[in-house]
């Protein structure tokens, strides 16, 4: 399955948008946090987990999804949210903790929820999986279309919820895909120090479902494999487990000194940055012109900048609104 020209352009656009989003967030996050880095300060306080380098997974999978499909994400959700079509302005505003944010500032960066496009998060490792299975079950019970995709990190594949949910989805043949973003690290702990086997895709055997490992952080390959899995799920044939090699170009969170990385690892990863890679490929193999791609980039960046500007300008929530929206 090769993406159409349109889809290729969309993928590139969303990757650029996602990266630009992270770059701006990164810069703004540091405002008010120098010379002394204190998370509580600045226009964007709290923890910040950037997704730089992991864009291929998000676009390769979400290219197959409609707003009606379900995605659950993690503590590192921006790239997936952007690829899923979460409202950019409201999302940016949420990350700034503004009244105009998706949840009026209650959730913040680790709790991006957009009911319009069925996007939800949990900051607790692997705990988005259960809800994804449940949404898939909901569609099955209602006889309504829709697949649910749960994105997790490779570190999350050692959490009990991973096992329970995959077994449940398999027994009930739910239209669900679990996508493991293998960026080689769970904070400072390397995959091989935490995971008994090399490749989590092999764990599909424990549930009698298909499992695929995709090396190379390659958006087109991801597109292909995810497309087949999602089509399979839509046909009612049950869940698939996909693991994707990807690169965490940033620290685990902002402020991470990354002392645990072997020498040279970061440089090697930057040399494999998937965005320039895809750009080259689009020109060499898919007939895109440089001008066209520049235009796509400009558009992507402009949209992001608009969203960030919206967030900046938006008002703070009323403090006492903290007490509302606990119950429906």
């Amino acid at each position: 399955m090769t993406p159409s020209r349109n889809t290729l352009g969309w993928m590139y656009e969303k990757m650029v948008a996602s990266r630009h989003f992270e770059e701006l967030i990164e810069k703004i996050y540091m405002e008010g946090k120098t010379p002394v880095f204190n998370m509580a300060n600045g226009p964007i306080p709290g923890e910040m987990h950037l997704s730089n380098g992991q864009e291929p997974v998000a676009v390769g999978v979400c290219a197959h999804l409609t707003p009606d499909d379900i995605v659950t994400a993690t503590h590192r959700p921006h790239h997936q949210a952007i690829a899923k079509g979460v409202d950019l302005k409201k999302m940016a505003a949420e990350i700034f903790g503004k009244a105009t944010g998706l949840s009026g500032g209650r959730g913040g960066h680790m709790h991006i929820f957009d009911a319009e496009v069925n996007f939800a998060c949990s900051g607790i490792i692997a705990q988005g999986m259960g809800p994804a299975a449940g949404a898939a079950l909901s569609r099955k019970l209602q006889g309504k279309p829709g697949v649910a995709v749960s994105f997790i990190g490779e570190g999350a594949a050692n959490q009990g919820a991973f096992h329970e949910t995959l077994n449940l989805a398999a027994v009930w043949k739910l239209p669900m895909i679990v996508v493991v973003e293998d960026n080689a690290w769970g904070i400072s702990v390397a995959k091989e120090a935490s995971t008994a086997i090399q490749c989590n895709a092999d764990r599909a055997a424990a549930y009698g479902i298909p499992g695929h490992y995709i090396p190379g952080n390659d958006p087109l390959k991801i597109y292909e494999v995810a497309g087949e899995a999602i089509a399979r799920a839509r046909r009612g044939e049950g869940p698939t487990l996909i693991e994707v090699e990807t690169y965490r170009l940033a620290g685990h969170f902002m402020g991470d000194a990354e002392g645990y990385r072997p020498d040279g690892e970061k440089d090697a990863l930057f040399a494999k940055d998937p965005i320039p890679n895809l750009r080259r490929l689009l020109v060499s193999d898919h007939g895109f012109t440089e001008a066209e791609l520049d235009e796509i980039e400009d558009k992507a960046r402009a949209e992001i900048e608009e969203a960030i500007a919206f967030a900046r300008q938006s008002p703070d929530p009323k403090p006492e609104d903290a007490l509302t929206a606990v119950f429906a």
């Binding site: 379900i70 659950t72 944010g101 998706l102 949840s103 009026g104 209650r106 959730g107 709790h111 929820f113 957009d114 009911a115 069925n118 939800a120 998060c121 949990s122 607790i124 705990q127 999986m129 259960g130 809800p131 994804a132 299975a133 449940g134 949404a135 898939a136 079950l137 909901s138 569609r139 019970l141 209602q142 649910a148 009990g160 919820a161 329970e164 949910t165 077994n167 449940l168 027994v171 009930w172 509302t324 929206a325 606990v326 119950f327 429906a328």
Partner: protein
């Protein structure tokens, strides 16, 4: 009326669920052994037969998985009724409950809601030991974002279940094994009462005066209400008039009813089968003293489960459990009555 239809709590719960399932296709039920077996505690009996095993589904022993799934289904527009067989098992799945179910409404600024019911059995008294006998009322009531109810009788059981299923919010529905009306768990007769056939709601968050009285207020929930009523009958013979408040809900907590009762009686006894410290009994006492200090004629008292794991041996467990005698003794003390030798 003697020829009125009386139900057990188990049947009342199943009836409410069935009635909602008939009118609302979004309602479905899942949990361990709830289909063919009808629930270990009988509260889903008959549902699989009527609604089939798609809508009434047995799950693997994967509480994190299926309670998490209920959250996702609820967010997607369904109305899951899900069972955690014993409340004691909450430790294997509490994240799905208190970090997802209870918070996703808030995290989404109200854009998602999570209309689900989590039924779970509570309580001891039949020697099921420390991992199968707890109440844990306080553990659930302490954490924001979920309503918490527990009926003391079948009328409330049905009405609370109907209200819980219809509620757009997550509701923890705790049913006490000793009240279920399953013979094999013993049967508290007072829990088996008249239950109307037609659906009705009992408002979540409203306590009920189970018995009026003037001298002392006994506040409790579920099984404790029956201990309170038994004590009140004994006390009446001894010239002490006890009011019994059946909380029915812990969240929201009907603080007004509690306070009004103590404002009248001036004396408070909290009966709580959950652990003594850092739980329900402390909260009720604080609730009263914060606003009604001047009304108190005597220090408030609690008859709660001591801060020890629940022992197996019958003599030990019974020693620890609240009962009418302990309440009577406390009430007499509070009222300055002579304690008979």
């Amino acid at each position: 009326m003697d020829n009125e239809r009386k139900l057990t709590i188990a049947r009342a719960m199943a009836e409410a669920t069935a009635q909602e399932m008939r009118i609302d296709p979004r309602v479905f039920v899942m949990g361990e052994d709830i289909a063919d077996l009808g629930g270990v505690f009988g509260n889903t009996r008959g549902l699989a037969e009527e609604f089939g095993k798609e809508r009434v589904r047995d799950t693997p022993i994967s509480e994190t998985g299926f309670i998490g799934a209920a959250v996702g289904a609820a967010q997607d527009g369904m109305r899951p009724v899900v069972e955690l067989m014993f409340v004691d098992f909450f430790g294997v799945c509490f994240d799905a409950i208190y970090n997802l179910m209870a918070k996703n409404t808030y995290f989404s600024g109200g854009k998602f809601n999570v209309p689900m019911v989590l039924m779970t059995s509570t309580g001891g008294g039949y020697s099921d030991a420390g991992q199968h006998s707890q109440c844990l009322y306080g553990s659930f009531a302490h954490l924001p974002g979920m309503k918490v109810v527990s009926p003391s009788n079948a009328y409330d059981a049905k009405g609370l279940m109907t209200a819980a299923i219809r509620d757009p919010n997550p509701v923890i529905y705790m049913y006490h094994k000793g009240l279920q009306g399953m013979g094999w768990l013993g049967t508290e007769k007072g829990a088996i009462v008249h239950v109307p056939e037609e659906p009705y709601e009992v408002e979540i968050g409203k306590a009920r005066i189970a018995r009026e009285g003037r001298d002392v207020t006994i506040v409790s929930i579920a099984q404790g209400v029956h201990h309170g009523l038994k004590a009140a009958r004994i006390l009446q013979d001894q010239g002490i008039s006890a009011e019994v408040v059946d909380l029915r809900s812990l969240v929201p907590l009907d603080r007004d009813t509690i306070r009004a009762s103590v404002a009248k009686t001036g004396r408070l006894i909290v009966v709580d089968e959950d652990y003594h410290s850092f739980g329900v009994s402390g909260e009720i006492i604080a609730t009263v003293t914060e606003t009604n200090l001047a009304d108190l004629k005597a220090p408030p008292r609690r008859i709660a489960y001591p801060d020890v794991p629940i022992p197996f041996a019958r003599v030990m467990e019974q020693y620890c459990l609240p009962n009418a005698d302990k309440i009577v003794a406390a009430a007499r003390e509070l009222c300055g009555a002579v304690i008979p030798a």
